[in-house]
Amino acid sequence: MADLYTITDLHLSLADMTRKPLFGLAPRLDILKGLSFSIEKGAVLGIVGGSGSGKSTLGRALVRLLEPSGGRVVFDGADITHLSDAELRPLRRRFQMIFQDPMSSLNPRHRVGTIIAEPLRLHGFDGIQARVLRALDHVGLPKEFAQRYPHELSGGQRQRVGIARAIALEPDFILADEIVSGLDVSSQAQVLNLLERLVADLGMTLAFISHDLSVVRRLCQRVMVLQHGQIVENRETAALFADPQAQYTRDLLGAIPLPDPDQVWS
């Protein structure tokens, strides 16, 4: 199958402001150190790693919220590595993001309907009202929710609004950055099952960033493990869990407390 994303030798460094001298430039801090991989159309890729491993930075480079400092990011045949904001704008509809914390990524002063309609209007869609209702229906929220404010919703419902906003644009690619880490197990299960179904039904490609390997195993066909800005392992999910190659992957797996008092956890 064709690749939606092809990433070649991706580097990203940021200015380390904590070590900036009074005069002169701040030293560069390398976050991503030469990543190469591709994402097939229709695939669900899990990106895992500890804090500081660069997984969120990688995600932001994929949807070009950050500009890489080296390498190439090719999206569906187009090199988007260094495109300007204006050049990116027509492409943005095609890659969307769902954020970790729905409380800070949904405008508290807007009703749910307005929140979902806003990007549709920016991208010049017609029949916006019908699209908003269809998106709400897709994520299993009744249409009355369009009139509500984010603070009137539960955490799981808010995250559904974030999903609705992303899928309303009918994107090819969705990046989900730790979208269930703030939720209870039951709402987490609901949101993940929903996402699994939507990706299959709407034929989207998904990159799912998470620190929870149990969740990734359930949802993703492929898993990429990051450590210190490098890929330590990138394999089919079943193969990776059956026989992890990298020591870091084994450490990550061994550290997960299973809900099972008989697990050897040393």
Partner: protein, 282 residues
Amino acid sequence: MSFLSVRNLSARVKGGGTLLRDVSLDVAVGEVRGLVGESGAGKSMIGKAVLGILPKAVEITSGQIMLDGVDLLALPPAQRRIKVGATCALIPQDPLTALNPSRRIGPQITDRLVDILGWTRQRAEERALALLGEVQITDPTRVLRQYPHELSGGMRQRILIASAFAAEPKLIVADEPTTALDVTVQKQILKLIAALQVRHGTALLFVTHDLGVVSKVCQKLSVLYAGKVVEDSAVADFFRAPKHPYSAALLAATPKYTDPLAGLQPVPEAVIAAVRAEVGHG
């Protein structure tokens, strides 16, 4: 014998909704009890009620909190503070906000020992040094002179653990102490808490939403729904056969990487309706 015994405790927001409904639980000397439930179930409230740090808007409407045989709720506030301060401590959830960013680590550990327990500063500093060693911080002398921003999240959490054990408390309330950490660090911290808890014989009230964590550190657990304890079991029994349908559903919602087909089943509507009716919630 139970060191902490909460009896029929009820609490509510002043002039508003009920937070705790007739909660009873016991923590024996040296025992670890997990408090689990979804957010808003009241698990943190119980810990806060024991320590006497409930938000001002919350009032206790009935019940008793027996600590070492004394009913805390019957004591005048000043005496209650002395009793709790001498025997209890808290490991807070977020190591970023729990430490004062503008003060060095040293005084943040020793102040309490000096000001409340009347230790000499030298004795307090020796104690702090020894404890930082116990929580496996290398070069503790230097860390005492550092500021919180110079340390990683895992280091900060270790410092809060050291601080909690500093005055040899009989009971520690650990309020989701590892939710802000990643899995490998979480494992180190949990093992550390467990080792210190055993070595010092401290009882622990462990608030968490993660049943995986419960299975690793707790001997008993209470499952809460809408402020009511729906199950009180030994951990080994709970994971073999949960007694209450709601706790069984909670377990079924927890994912397991060893079994891709298990877990991630949302709590069924029927179970929620039944448990709501049972606890008398909305």
